[in-house]
């Protein structure tokens, strides 16, 4: 005799759904491609255009500010590395915030572990980011920038980034079911976050006395390491990497705890 409620939790049950997670990621891609001529090209068009725009507008201001990179496209390279980190983060957080609301119908009608939903988002974002990495690599080569062996740290940085985004998104997603304002707040937070993170500017342009504010931003820890390994040919700052991993784990555990605690109430609220 298994109590019915025990079934819906536990990582083991989620593991049993691994095939579903993979097939859902494939399904999502398929749905995005279906009926569109350019298909997967759209995955990279909008981020690339954004990079090009910032490069055009800000390159004259920023070029001289990138010491140690001897390339006339230095700013574009810096931008690409930054967006490579920022895009998956916003994609995951944005989707996770409304994850349970978007899937309310399925959650109410089908018994499946809810942990598979964020996993699908993470997997799908990871795939998108891999495409983006390939395109970025091609762009680097075109601009004559060959990153050093330090770039091999990228998968580790990406995993830490995904975990951080997933943990943060999960917590916000659970809260958003009960307090819908969270969704709005997170959107605004991401807008501010974009400018509070050195993506389109370098931290040196911030007056030294205010830099500590940026230093408190976990996304700065992520971005700085991306920049180090992809732009400056330096090893990652392990202090920052450890901090990101630790924060990600705390958020993931908190999110899981919140998800468990809210099981019954969430079903009533959805």
């Amino acid at each position: 005799m298994i109590p019915a409620m025990r079934q819906s939790f536990g990582l083991r049950r989620t593991w049993a759904y691994r095939y579903f997670v993979l097939s859902s990621i494939a399904t999502e891609l398929r749905l995005r491609v279906v009926g569109s001529r350019l298909g997967l090209v759209w995955l990279v068009v909008s981020p690339l255009l954004q990079v090009a725009m910032y490069a055009l507008v800000l390159s004259t201001v920023m070029r001289s500010r990138l010491p140690g990179v001897d390339n006339r496209f230095a700013y574009a390279i810096y931008l690409l590395a930054g967006f490579l980190a920022w895009y998956p983060f916003t994609e995951i957080v944005t989707r996770c915030v409304t994850l349970f609301l978007d899937n309310a119908n399925a959650l109410k009608k089908i018994a499946f572990p809810r942990t598979v939903l964020p996993l699908i988002v993470l997997g799908s974002a990871a795939f998108n980011n891999c495409v983006m990495i390939a395109v970025t690599a091609a762009a680097f080569l075109l601009m004559g920038h060959v990153p050093s062996w330090q770039a091999l740290w990228l998968p580790v940085l990406l995993l830490a980034n995904l975990a951080l985004a997933g943990g943060f998104g999960l917590c916000c997603g659970v809260l958003n079911v009960f307090i819908r304002d969270v969704g709005q707040l997170v959107q605004i937070g991401l807008q501010f976050g974009f400018w509070l993170t050195p993506i389109v500017y370098v931290i040196d342009i911030i007056p030294a006395s205010y830099r500590w504010v940026i230093g408190l931003n976990p996304m700065f820890w992520v971005l700085d390491n991306y920049h180090r390994v992809l732009v400056y040919d330096q090893p990652p700052d392990f202090g920052k990497l450890a901090a990101v991993v630790a924060l990600a784990l705390v958020l993931l555990l908190l999110g899981r705890f919140m998800l468990r605690q809210s099981q019954a109430e969430m079903m009533d609220t959805l």
Partner: protein
């Protein structure tokens, strides 16, 4: 509701279900009936493991499959095949398991070449067949069906019932929500009636549905009682009791009580009614039903233009209804109703299911099949 110690303003709380207790054995099928909002869906969701009860316990053994809504998780742009893999994956099956069941699914859904077309091009019947085929591709130990069978054409219903019966024979327990008496009686051996979150009846589908019908027709001042008949069936009597049936009998041509009637014989239904208080009008209605509760014939004295106007308290009336029994062999029952007008929904004085029971046997007619007797004249030319 408190959450992490934070009070969150709760939308007004109420008990959707309370004091529900029942047990379903392997291979047993039970039906659940009840008005909208009685708590049927909540009960199913709890059994399916989608919601948790805030108090109490549900013990299950084996795999549970719930069809709460056909086609959940389907996406119109994907082909039938892709949707099959997706939806079955959502039930927790992996690729090789689904591939193993694919033949069975395509066989049941009968989609042919459409299986590889986007399902937005399907007719709703095709979508339903596919959804049901996927939902039941793997025999569960407990199958929960929420009125899904009420949709679809006769062919689909027949097919899905057939499949459910096969599961049952292999030991699947079935929990079915339905108001369809025929579906409940043909699949279930037992039924439960929920009302306002309480379990008000647990018995044979016939007894429970008679009670349910009395319940939905019930108005202020009406009472519902049930009696157990000699053969164990339950008789439901409802109404305001402002007029009552004092005596009811089925008599043959010689005015003897008729329990067994020959096909084509003429019988007389004799009903004596009494007005308990002064009433605006009094009408007797009757319906002849088969074993499954299907009405074969029914009419009333309002339709025949014989309304008794303004009976006084204590007045009695004896109705004699003579008719030939043009029914096939089998067991039939007669339901009686005293009301103010054409429908017992106007004012229901007394409604009595299973008021009389009789058997029809074929004594002197050529052999025939079916529930109706339609004496034929057959000529053969050669």
């Amino acid at each position: 509701m408190r959450w992490f110690g934070l009070p969150i303003p709760a939308p007004d709380e109420r008990w959707v279900l309370s004091d529900i207790s029942f047990r379903v054995d392997p291979g047993e099928a039970i039906g659940i009936a009840g008005r909208n909002g009685a708590g049927k869906s909540t009960l199913l969701k709890m059994i399916a493991g989608i919601t948790r009860p805030s108090a109490g316990r549900i013990a299950l053994s084996g795999r549970v499959a719930a069809i709460l809504e056909l086609g959940m998780g389907f996406s119109g742009e994907l082909t039938g095949r892709q949707n099959t893999f997706h939806a079955a994956g959502m039930m927790g099956f992996n690729q090789s398991e689904i591939e193993g069941a694919l033949e069975d699914i395509t066989g049941f859904a009968e989609l042919g070449a459409f299986f590889d077309q986007p399902i937005r091009t399907y007719s709703s019947g095709m979508q339903m067949r596919l959804a049901f085929a996927v939902a039941t591709a793997f025999r569960p130990d407990i199958l929960i069906v929420d009125e899904a069978l009420a949709v679809g054409d006769a062919y689909f219903q027949h097919k899905s019932m057939e499949r459910i019966r096969r599961f049952q024979a292999k030991g699947t327990s079935l929990i079915l929500v339905s108001h369809d008496k025929v579906a409940l009686q043909s699949l279930c051996t037992r039924a439960i009636l929920l009302d306002n979150g309480q379990m008000v009846r647990d018995g044979t589908p016939e007894a429970v549905l008679d009670y349910y019908n009395a319940l939905i027709a019930q108005k202020k001042g009406e009472t519902i009682t049930t009696e157990t008949l000699e053969d164990g069936r339950m008789r439901t009597i409802s109404g305001t009791r402002q007029a009552v049936i004092e005596h009811a009998a089925l008599e043959d041509a010689a005015s003897k009580p008729a329990d067994t009637v020959a096909v084509g014989a003429t019988v007389t239904l004799v009903v004596k009614a009494r007005a308990v208080e002064a009433l605006p009008s009094l009408v007797l209605g009757y319906a002849i039903k088969d074993r499954l509760g299907q009405t074969f014939f029914g009419t009333n004295t309002a339709f025949s233009g014989q309304v008794i106007e303004a009976p006084q308290a204590g007045d009695t009336a004896t109705f004699r209804i003579t008719f030939p029994v043009m029914l096939g062999p089998g067991t039939y029952s007669i339901a009686l109703a005293l009301s103010a007008g054409e429908s017992h929904l106007d004012a229901n004085y007394e409604w009595r299911d299973l008021a009389l029971m009789f058997d029809v046997v074929n004594l002197d007619k050529p052999a025939f099949d079916g529930k109706m007797f339609m004496p034929p004249v057959i000529t053969v030319e050669r």
